[in-house]
Amino acid sequence: MLDVRGLKKVYEGSGRRVEAVRDLTFTVDAGELVCLVGPSGCGKTTLLKCMGGLLTPTSGEVLLEGRKVSGPPPGMAFVFQEYGRSLFPWMRVGDNVELPLKQKDLSKARRRELVRDALESVGLTDAVGAYPWQLSGGMQQRVAIARALAYEPRVLLMDEPFAAVDAQTRADLEDLVRGLWRDRGITILFVTHDIDEAVYLGERVLVLSASPTVVQEQLKVDLPAERDQLHTRVDPRFAELRTHVYEQIQAAKRGVVRDAVTKSDTPPPH
């Protein structure tokens, strides 16, 4: 579904050369929910923007369903961290969700249906006529998610979408994302710096190293598909997995890259 091959991104400007991403190779299968986690400043956003066609990689390539990504592909939707700067404050919620659809060749009735359906999925049917700034942060991010859903993407890229909302809202939104993923069968790539969030949400967790970034480890999350905030987070297996990821990130910060790009499966129990 999604192939990242030898991706490298170097920013050059004003005499400074920053190698944000060195060499990333991984695959996301159709219908998978993969979390990318890594130390802050490790080029997660750069990676996601390259995948979404918003940035051109210095070398390497991103393939979506076998085709090379050279600009934002129509089958992909993006949810940004800064919801307040991603929704248009001069448009009502319904218009914000509908705007991307107007660029597609859809009838008005179909657009309406998609908007209604998407807002219903995130539980915001009543907010259709409100302006984004009249809503709370969590609700605004729900609108951004609804906009992505209405776009009917096959792949959803989420860039630390819940980093700026409070903990309780965050838990709700995490469950929302898992619910949508299970209902709609979308492939989701979720970037976060929160280890618990990565383990709770993902079917697989990719641990990235510190910048210049490579894949530190790939980890399958063998928690049951049915997860909830109350029980999953106290599951001993959850604790093991999060400890393992935590150790990996600490190692990444120290710069210890333990056989990069190899695919290790479940970590040994501690």
């Binding site: 918003l54 939707a77 993006f78 800064e82 248009f88 001069w90 705007l99």
Partner: protein, 259 residues
């Protein structure tokens, strides 16, 4: 509710009422022919500003103002969008713009008369040439300041080309564009009067000069009152339009201030 409304009305009316009263009292016993009592001016008013004169002088003035202002708005926003969107164009244009903006528009009247004659075209060009700068420069700033996350959002969702301009760039720049339009409106009224004082056979500015030259001093004063009222009315209309178009911006600002 009604009490509060009355109180607000009182606040709005209080100062103008005091000023008019002071003018009235100070000028009441005046025998200076150049400084007639306000009573005389107000008595003269209905005789001077008849329906006929509204048609022959006020309407032409307003049409010129509207024409020049609309032209300036169209050119200013269009050019400003282009300059604001491309860094290279901006680098080339900025020094020239700074120079042109610094030229006081009234000095252009004699120059514009040379090639545009003394008809309505000249007046519209004069008004437009003065109004265009605040609109243009504010549009440039507004377009430059479009949020990078919003631009990326638009790109990732395939909102490009004309849709991007219409739904993102111009809307995002609209608070600045309106700030420019507001400045341009007062400049426009000034230039409307000045252009009519230079060479014209009708218009409010022309009428005021005409009265002054024929020593019809109270009549001249009524012309000044008309200009003041006109400016006030236009600014009220402008505010109504702005409130409609920028309603979201006021709401957004109020929300961010509260949090």
């Amino acid at each position: 509710m009604i009490g509060r409304l009355l109180l607000r009305l009182l606040f709005v009316v209080a100062l103008p009422a005091v000023l008019v009263a002071v003018w009235w009292a100070a000028s009441n016993g005046s025998t200076d022919p150049f400084w007639p009592p306000l009573r005389t001016i107000l008595d003269t008013f209905p005789d001077v500003w008849t329906a006929d004169r509204l048609r022959t002088d006020v309407v032409p003035s307003l049409l010129r103002l509207l024409g020049g202002y609309a032209l300036a708005a169209a050119v200013g926003v269009a050019l400003g969008t282009v300059i604001g969107s491309y860094r290279r164009v901006r680098a080339v244009c900025e020094p020239v713009l700074e120079f042109l903006r610094a030229v006081p528009p009234p000095v252009l009247v004699p120059v514009i008369m040379l090639f545009a004659g003394i008809g309505d075209t000249m007046k519209i060009v004069v008004i437009a040439s003065g109004c265009v700068w605040p609109i243009l420069l504010n549009t440039v700033e507004g377009v430059r300041a479009v949020d990078s996350v919003m631009l990326e959002t638009a790109r990732s969702y395939g909102v490009t080309g004309f849709a991007r301009l219409r739904h993102l760039v111009l809307r995002s720049a609209s608070p600045q564009i309106f700030a420019g339009l507001r400045q341009a409106l007062s400049i426009g009224i000034i230039l409307m009067v000045i252009s009519e004082m230079f060479a014209a056979n009708n218009g409010i500015g022309f009428t005021v000069v005409q009265f002054q030259r024929s020593f019809a001093i109270p009549d001249m004063w009524t012309g000044i009152l008309v200009l003041g009222l006109l400016g006030f009315l236009l600014s009220v209309v402008f505010q109504l339009v702005e409130r409609r178009v920028l309603g979201w911006y006021r709401g957004l600002r109020a929300t961010t201030r509260r949090s």
